[in-house]
Structure formats: structure tokens, C-alpha cells
């Protein structure tokens, strides 16, 4: 089977599992357009942070300062939008994050400071510096304070014409997916609902985020520049001997990293909230790091991770029965995977999948309501679980976090 067909098949089975799960638990919200739309909206900042981490770590610089860079992005995003309109907000957020990326580069690349130490410092500094800036800019304004900005204008959204009812030169085109969603047909309507959520009312910035995935894959794996950048993450000494300007590539990596994390922060302000609030990143920079690890330092993997975490995040805002339906769906999916593993005669995986799947099934049967506070911990639990279960199969860049100085032996 070719790859695209396989992915489509897996996606189809996924939707079928969701449909069955919500049919059993008697809810319709799991495949409603709202849920899919929210999942997409919540996945993008995580995706951007994760892609940011990808550029940095592929160049060999560990970046746990993503959170601080994202915080800078939220503040500068709001400030730019407040002063000059939403698209300048996007630009400001990007540059604000990149500035902190530059700082991280200065510490780790030029001064050879331990990457984690620098990252921790950036997270402390990001929070403090943004609050300081708020106190001198937003605080005197009406609606603003030390911890939040006045409401700012957000970036607009778009719907796909003919399929999700987008406007075409002022004419409102038909809404195929929405129509399907309303029909109440088993599976077909559920698929329509999910697609309606993905293609209707999508922010322009979401499109930017999604386009960045193939763009990054192309840039890093199909261009000479990308090869040079990755070689700095795998073996900077060899790269140096081949004439690559390692220090410059590392700087590119961390600055793009900061820029993308900042873009993720700007997204939170300009698409989700319409306002800057202190602490609004709520650890999403770290979840982005989790998505990066989950995705095995590959763009498509980061995208998958971001969607898993984004979907988990979106469940918090739905009712408890939706969460239960989702847990059942996970249980069914895992048990199906276990059955497939038995069919493939890989007994260890079958036992693992079956065991975890059974665990989810028991959880579903016993627990009536999953508390929101625990739901918030799911991305972190999944990351830990993936790391613990599959650390042999994960491969980070070989010289990620290594100290490197020009002209010195390893």
C-alpha cells in the first residue's frame, strides 16, 4: 500500500472509532465541527513551539527556553496589534521571540553556556521582562493592567468555498461538509462534521502554521542549507571540517526557533484570546517540547504530536460525556491495534497495546467524570509515557546539547 492511501485508511478507521465510541456513550459532540475546530485552534501554538524546537535542536542547541520565547511572543504580538493592527502583531510576536532566541544563541553558541541553564534563565527572564513591559505600557491604559493588555484586534479567518461555505467574491458558496454533518448519517455525517471543523472558519494564521510543516520538511531535508543546519546537530566537528560555518548555522537555528515560538505566542493572542494575559501560555512551550519528542524530531511527527495534545486540550472545554467518549475511543483504538499486532505476530506490542487498551476500558467503565485538573496533565503524561515506552525508537540529533567551540577538538 502506498503511503497516502495508508494514512487515509488510518484516518478513516480513526473517524470510525470515534463514531462508534460516541454512539455507545450517546453523545454527538466528539465529531462536531466545534470540537474539530477547537482542536485545530489549540494544536497550532503547540505545533509552532514544537517546530521552533525542531530548528534549534536540529542545529544542536537544546531549547527549553521555548516557554519564555513564547511568552515574549504573546506580549509583543498584543503590543504590535494594539499599535499597528493584527498583522503587525504577528510580525512583532515573531521578532520578540526571535530576540530571545538570539539571547539563547549568544549564551549557548558564543559563550558555550550549558543549554539547559540558559533555557531556564530565559524562562525566568521572559516572564519578568514582559511583566515589566506591561507595567510601563499597558498599565496606564483603560482595560490594561500589569498582567493584561487592552483588548486587541485579532487576525481574520476564512472558510473553504463549496465545501465549508466560504465566501467567493461576496457570494456565499454552498456548505457541503456542514450539510453532511446535519444529516445524521452514521459515519458520513461524523466525517462531515470533522471536516467542517477543519475547513470552516479557519484563521489565516492557522494556515500559516500548517504550511510551515511541509515548508520546514523541505527546507531542512531538501536544501543544502537544511543539510548544513542538520549536520551541526549531528556532528558539528565533521561539519566544520567540511567548511560549514557551524556557529552561524546554530544562530540561524535558535533565532528561527525563537521566532516560531514567538509566532505561537502571537497566535494565542491574535486568534484565541484577543488579549494578552500574563501566564496565558500555560506551559504550551513545554508541551511543544513534548510534541517535538513525541514526533521524534521530524516535522510530520511534531504535527501529529501537536494534534494529539491539541485535541486533548480541546476536551477540557467540552462536557464530561465527551471526555468519556474519547477515553472509550482510545480504548477501542488500542485494542484494534493490539489485534492488528497479533495478526502481525508481534506479541510484545500486542501485550503492551492490549494491556493499555484494557486499562483505558476499565477507566471508562469506572470513572464517570474526569476532573479538569487531571485532564490538563494529559500532554505531560503522554510525553512521559511515550519517552518511557519508546525511548529506544526515538532518535534525537546526535550532538544535541553538546558543547562546541570553533577549532576545538570534541
Amino acid at each position: 500500500m502506498s503511503r497516502p492511501i495508508r494514512y487515509m485508511l488510518i484516518a478513516g478507521i480513526g473517524v470510525l472509532v470515534l463514531t462508534i465510541a460516541q454512539w455507545i456513550t450517546d453523545t454527538a459532540e466528539l465529531t462536531a465541527p466545534n470540537t474539530a475546530g477547537a482542536a485545530l485552534r489549540l494544536a497550532i501554538p503547540i505545533l509552532l513551539a514544537g517546530l521552533g524546537g525542531l530548528y534549534s535542536e536540529r542545529a544542536g542547541i537544546v531549547n527549553i527556553g521555548l516557554e519564555g520565547m513564547m511568552i515574549a511572543g504573546t506580549w509583543f504580538g498584543a503590543w504590535g496589534s494594539w499599535l499597528y493592527g493584527p498583522w503587525n502583531g504577528v510580525l512583532f510576536g515573531l521578532l520578540g521571540g526571535a530576540a530571545f532566541g538570539l539571547l539563547h544563541g549568544l549564551a549557548t553558541v558564543t559563550f558555550n553556556v550549558d543549554h539547559i541553564v540558559s533555557g531556564v534563565a530565559i524562562n525566568i527572564l521572559g516572564l519578568g521582562a514582559m511583566r515589566f513591559l506591561s507595567s510601563i505600557t499597558y498599565n496606564p491604559e483603560t482595560g490594561g493592567s500589569v498582567v493584561q493588555s487592552p483588548p486587541v484586534q485579532g487576525v481574520g479567518s476564512v472558510s473553504l468555498p463549496f465545501f465549508a461555505g466560504g465566501d467567493l467574491f461576496g457570494w456565499r458558496s454552498p456548505d457541503l461538509f456542514g450539510w453532511l454533518d446535519r444529516q445524521g448519517w452514521f459515519f458520513i455525517s461524523d466525517l462531515g462534521g470533522i471536516l467542517k471543523g477543519f475547513f470552516g472558519g479557519v484563521s489565516w494564521l492557522t494556515l500559516v502554521g500548517l504550511i510551515l510543516v511541509p515548508l520546514t520538511a523541505w527546507l531542512l531535508w531538501r536544501t543544502p542549507w537544511g543539510l548544513r543546519l542538520r549536520s551541526c546537530g549531528e556532528d558539528p566537528w565533521a561539519a566544520e571540517s567540511l567548511g560549514v560555518s557551524v556557529l552561524r548555522m546554530k544562530y540561524y537555528g535558535v533565532m528561527i526557533s525563537g521566532g516560531l515560538a514567538g509566532l505561537g505566542g502571537a497566535f494565542l493572542v491574535l486568534v484565541q484570546a484577543g488579549i494578552y494575559r500574563e501566564g496565558m501560555t500555560a506551559g504550551r512551550g513545554f508541551i511543544g517540547l513534548g510534541a517535538l519528542i513525541f514526533g521524534n524530531w521530524i516535522p510530520s511527527g511534531v504535527l501529529t504530536g501537536a494534534f494529539v495534545f491539541g485535541f486533548g486540550d480541546s476536551l477540557r472545554f467540552r462536557g464530561p460525556d465527551v471526555v468519556r467518549a474519547f477515553i472509550l475511543a482510545v480504548a477501542i483504538a488500542l485494542l484494534l491495534a493490539a489485534a492488528y499486532a497479533i495478526f502481525q505476530r508481534t506479541s510484545r506490542r500486542a501485550v503492551l497495546m492490549g494491556g493499555v487498551g484494557a486499562g483505558f476500558l476499565v477507566f471508562y467503565l469506572l470513572v464517570q467524570q474526569v476532573p479538569n485538573q487531571l485532564l490538563a496533565a494529559t500532554p505531560y503524561l503522554i510525553t512521559l509515557f511515550v519517552l518511557a515506552a519508546a525511548s529506544q525508537r526515538l532518535r534525537m540529533p546526535a550532538a544535541d546539547g553538546a558543547r562546541y567551540a570553533r577549532g576545538e577538538a570534541r
Binding site: S118, A121, I124, F132, F286, P371, Q373, L374, Y380, A388
Partner: protein, 371 residues
């Protein structure tokens, strides 16, 4: 490294970092049209009153303990970012349990401290276990465990452990007086210091000093400490000389976590006497900064903790003088970066000087042989 260059790196580096941080903070203040010297003057005048100095020590205590927890890991090349989650989770559970048990006064306190150390040790030991058994890097696992601890904390607190105490405050039940750590104000009296009513020097100071001494002996004077430092400097050499690296990792994380569990105890047993909704947070992250500033040396970390405590206390006055007090957070963030950068530069300079001296000595020797 010889004596003079060690002196250079251990004293000059932090001092230089503090000066640089002051310069940057001043530049930031100048940018927004605030006179930095005036602001520092206000901070100094307010920060050196008796009440402020006591508050400074009270703030420094948990920071110092947190720094000790981080430093134990640092000594063997383990980065424990999980102090934050460990101490918050521990403070909640220990605070809840402390209100349940009834014991004679001193025993009660030690029972709580033991429970706290146990919970913290298990929680951070988990990261050690994950590293040894599953190869998960401790930085990632402790970051994730932090957030899991925050969630667990919120869930347990709001659903099970909070007490029905009425009013607007959400808190666990009050710990009986036998579980309180008395203040040290009586000792201040010996020195003729009479603080205003309501100002109390936390009694946990004694335990913190004991922990500092314990840390010094553990790391520098014990067999375990030798193995610890050896593993930190050269893991394969330590392994070859019979150190079990896996056991060292787990033990170190457990010790680090046990100390982390005690971070919140100063406030819990000496001040609030119950876990409250706005229990001080951020001490775990600040502890990393203090450990870096003090270069894992107990005396250095004590100085760092006192500096941070002073900055936090004295910044309160800035609000009244229309100076954004967040300048102090910027200062703290800058100082972490500055201290590691300066240390890197200074030690590179010292190294180069040592190499030059060695080269000179060789050259001299050659001249002598030729003659």
C-alpha cells in the same frame, strides 16, 4: 587549577555577574526615564530596616533549601528542574497530614519533616528511576513531572484535601500547635533586636543551616560525596573504580527530592500553619538560579539566597515610588545568565593563563638545559 585562579573564578565571577546585572537593570530603568540610583537608594533604605532584614532572611530560607536540592543533582551532572513541583505537592500533602496526626510538640514537627522528605524523595526519585530504567533524560522528565504535580496538586486540593473553614480563603485544616516551628524572636532579644509586633524570624532557619552543613559533609566529606563528584566529573572513570552509576543516579535524585520536599516547610510550619491557595510558588525555579549563583557551594548559595531575599523584600517599596518592581525579576533572570557566562569566560581566561605559565616554565627549563 592553582589557588589564585580558583579564587578568581569563585569570587570574581559572581561579583562581576552582579555588577553586570546591576548595569543592565540600570540601563533598562534609564530607558523608561527612571533614575536607577534613586530607585536603588529607596530599596536600600527600605530593605535595611529591622523588619525588612528579618523578612529577607525568611525569604532566603526556602530559596537556600531549594538551591541545596538543585546543587546535589548538579554535583553529579544531574539537572533537577523538578524541585518546583516536588515542593508544592509535598507542602499540600504534608500540610494535610500534619493536621491529622497528633504527637508531642517536637516529635510532631519531625514527623512532618520526615513525611515531606519522603514524598519529595519519591516524587523526584521517579525521574531517577525513569532515567535508569527507561533512558528518559531527567530534564524532560522533571519538566513533565512538574506539570503533572501542579495538576495533581490542584485536583487533590480542591476536591479532597481542602478544609471547610469558611470565608474566602481556600486552605487545608489548621495544623495543631504541636506541629508549629516557633519563631526565633527570643534569640533576637539576646542581641538587643526588638522587631515590631507581627514580624517573626522563622525558626526553620536553624534547620536550613543544619541542612547546609549536612550538604557540605555529604558532598565534600563522605564516601558517597566522593562517588557523587567523581560520577559528575567523569562517569566512566567512576564506573571503572566501582561506582554503580545507576544506583548513584537514583540515590541522588531521591536525596535531591527529599531536600526539595523541605522547601515549603519553613512557610508551612513557621508561618501559615496550613496549606493555602496562594502558597508561595516559583521557589523551585528560583532555587536553580541561586544554586548557579552560589556555584553549588553552601556558603555561596547562602549569600545568593540572601541577595534574592533582599531584592524581593526591598522591591516592595518600588510600587509606592512608581517604579515597576518587576525590574527585580529582570535582575534575577539576567544574573543567572551573567553568572554562567562570566564563569565560562573567566575560567577560560584562567585556563589560558595556566597554559601560558606552563609554556613559559617549559621554555625556561629548555634555556636552563641549553646553558
Amino acid at each position: 587549577m592553582n589557588r589564585s585562579s580558583r579564587l578568581l573564578t569563585s569570587f570574581v565571577a559572581p561579583l562581576l555577574a552582579i555588577i553586570i546585572s546591576f548595569a543592565i537593570a540600570s540601563a533598562v530603568l534609564l530607558l523608561v526615564d527612571i533614575d536607577p540610583l534613586g530607585a536603588y537608594g529607596e530599596m536600600w533604605a527600605f530593605g535595611t530596616t529591622t523588619e525588612s532584614l528579618i523578612s529577607m532572611i525568611n525569604r532566603a530560607i526556602p530559596l537556600f533549601v531549594s538551591a541545596l536540592a538543585v546543587a546535589v543533582g548538579f554535583k553529579m551532572g544531574l539537572f533537577n528542574i523538578g524541585v518546583e513541583g516536588a515542593y508544592l505537592l509535598t507542602a499540600l500533602i504534608a500540610g494535610y497530614l500534619a493536621a491529622l496526626i497528633a504527637l508531642p510538640s517536637v516529635l510532631h514537627v519531625f514527623a512532618i519533616l520526615l513525611i515531606a522528605a519522603l514524598i519529595g524523595g519519591v516524587w523526584n526519585g521517579l525521574a531517577g528511576w525513569l532515567k535508569v530504567k527507561r533512558g528518559v533524560h531527567e530534564v524532560i522528565s522533571t519538566i513533565m513531572l512538574n506539570f503533572i504535580a501542579f495538576s495533581l496538586n490542584a485536583w487533590l486540593f480542591l476536591n479532597y484535601l481542602k478544609a471547610d473553614i469558611g470565608g474566602l480563603t481556600t486552605a487545608t485544616a489548621l495544623i495543631p500547635e504541636s506541629g508549629w516551628i516557633p519563631s526565633l524572636n527570643f534569640a533576637l532579644g539576646w542581641f538587643g533586636v526588638e522587631p515590631r509586633a507581627g514580624t517573626e524570624l522563622h525558626g526553620f532557619l536553624v534547620i536550613a543551616i543544619f541542612l547546609g552543613v549536612f550538604y557540605h559533609f555529604l558532598v565534600n566529606r563522605s564516601r558517597f560525596g566522593y562517588d557523587l563528584r567523581a560520577s559528575g566529573i567523569n562517569p566512566s572513570a567512576a564506573h571503572a573504580s566501582g561506582v554503580n552509576p545507576k544506583r548513584m543516579i537514583v540515590t541522588t535524585m531521591v536525596i535531591s527530592g527529599s531536600i526539595a520536599g523541605l522547601v515549603g516547610m519553613s512557610t508551612l510550619l513557621g508561618f501559615s500553619h496550613r496549606y493555602v491557595q496562594d502558597f508561595p510558588s516559583g521557589l523551585g525555579f528560583a532555587g536553580i538560579a541561586v544554586a548557579l549563583l552560589g556555584r553549588n557551594n553552601p556558603v555561596g548559595m547562602a549569600f545568593g539566597a540572601v541577595l534574592f531575599g533582599f531584592l524581593e523584600r526591598s522591591s516592595i517599596i518600588l510600587d509606592l515610588k512608581d517604579v515597576p518592581r518587576e525590574i527585580v525579576t529582570i535582575f534575577q533572570g539576567v544574573i543567572v545568565l551573567a553568572v554562567v557566562i562570566v564563569y565560562e569566560v573567566v575560567s577560560r581566561y584562567a585556563q589560558r593563563r595556566a597554559i601560558a605559565a606552563a609554556a613559559q616554565a617549559t621554555a625556561d627549563l629548555e634555556v636552563a638545559v641549553m646553558a
